[in-house]
């Protein structure tokens, strides 16, 4: 029953995972065991220790066989049409993933897998944002072979697509096995050196990592005062005295410390993630690999790129740095439909990548939106401010000071107006906006899904309209939209873009 259909002459026999998978799963489950056994290990000798010991024994009795059975049950193979995965201990699952639907195959190696020479293969398909198939773990060579076989099969499909009736001859179905190394050669588009990655981290200040650190600390539960005096020993002792003397000084130092820590962890996390970042073009796919502890390899089929997104912030832009992302269908949900094509690079490098994948040059002439957008923004934000202040001041008078931000709002409106740009030519629609998070959407005209313009009552009074260009897989909050273009221009722009779309195949 496990054998594939005999007629299709499979290029791959049903295979098991790498035997070391069992070892890895046991290792991964150990922390849980340690947690259960914690009282026993500490040897406090309280009465619960025996209970925990029994619990631990039960854990071993159940989990270890479970891991073994899971390993024995797990089979996968590739037929010319499908990737088939049979798995499950109690609930048996048979999953068939059509090869032509596979969008991306990611190979991931965490430190443990790197030690053991295994890897995790994650298969993403169009139409579902989460991983469709996961092989954890196979040997690295096997992981690469799975990718190569799938890629070759997809290429064969594309070449046989026009003539639907031509069956695949036996030779071509067998070919992928022998060509395990095909496709590993490609053109290198960009590689980042460690200095560049560190610099990229320096721009990536985030307090999230800090929060993670503190929540972990809470889990371990060190005594904060002890920790503090341990930190402040030796030459820092006079500092400790001053901190305890003045609360203001302590607050300033605390904030400074938090920022410094956030900055440093940002650098470390980025360094870990993008260490030795490399982007290659292999055939019609982009191939990226990066990571210090956990190695990640991903592929982006160029034909499935929906749009390109250029991201920067005022500080990065000042120094001329950008980040290039690719929006595709069915990519990892954690990255919300976006894959990083270049984490940190110059504008020329971005242009070079775009040129290397055969995209035409970006439009040069950017046009601003209507200046009336400042008026609309002011009307909206001042109205809101007036309502909030007007209501709250009945209970709490000091809220009136909030009125002082009105001039700041005007400044913001001005910056917002200056950031909003749109450009289009025969092959692109590009939309740029954002004061702090500066995003530029570059949508190839042929990737348009729907387009349109809309105007609310106030916009209509000012003769303005917002435009949008929808692409497949764009996340809801971050689609290519631009408000407050002069209405006639908005209509003209969308008509122009759409009529170009119509002429595309």
């Amino acid at each position: 029953m496990e054998a594939p259909a005999p007629a299709s002459n499979p290029p791959m026999e049903p295979k098991r995972l790498h035997p070391l998978t069992m070892v890895q799963r046991v290792i991964v489950s150990l922390p849980a065991l340690v947690f259960i056994m914690l009282p026993v290990i500490r040897g406090n000798g309280d009465s619960n220790a025996w209970f925990n010991l029994v619990f631990g024994a039960m854990y071993l009795v159940f989990i270890v066989p479970w891991i073994a059975i899971h390993y024995l049950r797990f089979r996968y193979w590739i037929t010319p049409d499908e990737l088939v995965i049979h798995s499950g201990v109690l609930t048996r699952r048979r999953r068939n993933i059509p090869v032509e639907r596979i969008q991306n195959i990611e190979i991931e190696q965490a430190p443990l897998q790197r030690m053991l020479g295994t890897a995790k293969v994650v298969v993403y398909t169009a139409g579902s944002a989460r991983a469709e198939g996961v092989l954890e773990y196979v040997s690295l060579a096997e992981a690469r072979e799975v990718r190569t076989v799938v890629r070759d099969l997809q290429q064969q499909m594309q070449s046989t697509e026009p003539a639907h009736s031509t069956p695949m001859d036996a030779e071509s179905t067998h070919a992928p096995i022998d060509r395990t190394t095909t496709g590993t050669e490609g053109t290198l588009l960009i590689a980042l050196d460690p200095q560049r990655v560190i610099m990229s981290g320096a721009f990536r200040f985030s307090l999230i990592y800090l929060a993670v650190i503190f929540s972990t600390l809470q889990y371990i539960e060190p005594d904060p005062t002890l920790l503090f005096s341990w930190l402040m020993r030796g030459p820092l002792e006079p500092l400790e005295a001053r901190i305890q003397a003045s609360p203001v000084f302590a607050a300033v130092l605390g904030a400074f410390g938090a920022i410094l820590l956030g900055w440093l962890t940002g650098i470390l996390v980025t360094f870990n993630r993008y260490y030795r970042f490399k982007l290659e073009r292999i055939g019609d796919k982009l191939h990226s690999s990066h990571g210090l502890l956990t190695l990640k390899e991903g592929t982006i089929p160029l034909s499935r790129v929906q749009s390109w997104i250029l991201r920067t912030n005022p500080l990065m832009e000042f120094f001329g740095w950008y980040r290039l992302e690719v929006q595709t269908m069915g990519i990892n949900l954690n990255q919300s439909g976006y894959q990083v094509a270049l984490p940190f690079g110059r504008r020329e490098e971005v242009d070079a990548i775009l040129a290397a994948v055969g995209s035409p040059a970006l439009p040069e002439a950017w046009s601003s939106v209507s200046r009336l957008t400042i008026r609309r923004f002011m009307a909206r934000s001042l109205g809101l401010l007036l309502i909030v202040v007007g209501v709250v001041q009945f209970w709490w008078r000091p809220i009136l000071w909030l009125g002082l931000i009105a001039p700041l709002l005007f400044g913001w409106a001005l910056l917002r107006y200056r950031a909003m740009r749109v450009a289009d030519d025969a092959s692109w629609v590009a939309i740029r906006k954002g004061v702090i998070r500066r995003l530029t959407w570059m949508v190839p005209v042929e990737k348009l899904q729907t387009a349109g313009w809309y105007a609310n009552w106030f916009q209509r009074r000012l003769g303005l309209a917002s435009i949008y260009v929808d692409t497949a897989g764009a996340s809801a909050g971050r689609s290519a939209e631009l408000p407050d273009i002069e209405e006639g221009q908005a209509r003209e722009l969308i008509t122009r873009v759409y009529s170009r779309f119509r002429t595309r195949p």
């Binding site: 949008y468 209509r491 008509t495 009529s499």
Partner: protein, 217 residues
């Protein structure tokens, strides 16, 4: 358009220029569906002139209106929704009927709520109907709608993933249906075209169905 012939079997009511409905016999020559704007010069040198139909100057009169029965459906739905709210206010009114410090005598708030509900339920649906229009062209579906927020949507027919025709109990009573157009996009992954006569919805679906291609994204 020859493909629209199925509509002519159905009794079509359409709006005149003032916005009132007029009942039109299918055999009459004038077809309200025909767009009233002209084809201008080519906008882009790469696009063929004959397929280049603009969206500028699209007015509601030039678009196909919805089936007038939808007004009744909307009135019913808004009426029921607002009616429930009004009943809520009535309950509150009854509960507070014997409070010493009440500002208005019993029944005033309920009366105001009921009147408002009636006025809105009567007055809003025709307005919604007035500002709803669609047009099926040879390569795209154009939707224009909205009283306050006026939205123009262009759906290229070859981007359609699948089509649904759906009816709720109120719509079933009046023989209207809504056509739901699914695309792979996010912002308008399902575009709803409400208030079509059931036969029109089905013929539209069949007409648009042939454009669905299973191209990979």
């Amino acid at each position: 358009m020859a493909s629209r012939s199925k509509e002519s079997v159905i009794k079509i009511r359409s709006r005149d220029t003032v916005g009132r409905w007029r009942v039109q016999h299918p055999n009459l020559a004038q077809n309200p569906v025909e767009p009233s704007f002209s084809y201008p010069e080519s906008i882009d040198s790469t696009s063929p002139v004959e397929s280049n139909r603009p969206f500028a100057g699209v007015s509601f009169d030039a678009l196909t209106p919805l089936d007038p029965s939808i007004v009744k459906v909307w009135r019913l739905k808004t009426g029921i929704f607002l009616g429930i709210l009004a009943v809520g206010i009535l309950v509150w009114d009854i509960l507070n009927a014997f409070q010493a410090d009440r500002v208005l005598p019993f029944g005033v708030w309920s009366l105001i709520a009921a009147t408002l509900a009636c006025v809105i339920a009567f007055w809003l649906p025709p307005l919604r109907y007035r500002y709803w229009g669609y047009e099926l062209r040879d390569e795209e579906l154009l939707l224009v709608r909205g009283i306050f927020n006026r939205v123009h949507t262009i759906i290229p027919l070859r981007r359609i993933q699948h089509l649904d025709v759906s009816q709720d109990i109120f719509e079933r009573e009046f023989d209207v249906a809504k056509l739901i157009v699914h695309t792979a996009g996010t912002r308008s992954s399902d575009v709803i075209l409400p208030g079509l006569h059931q036969d029109v919805a089905e013929s539209l679906r069949d007409e648009m169905k042939q454009f669905i291609t299973d191209q990979a994204l």
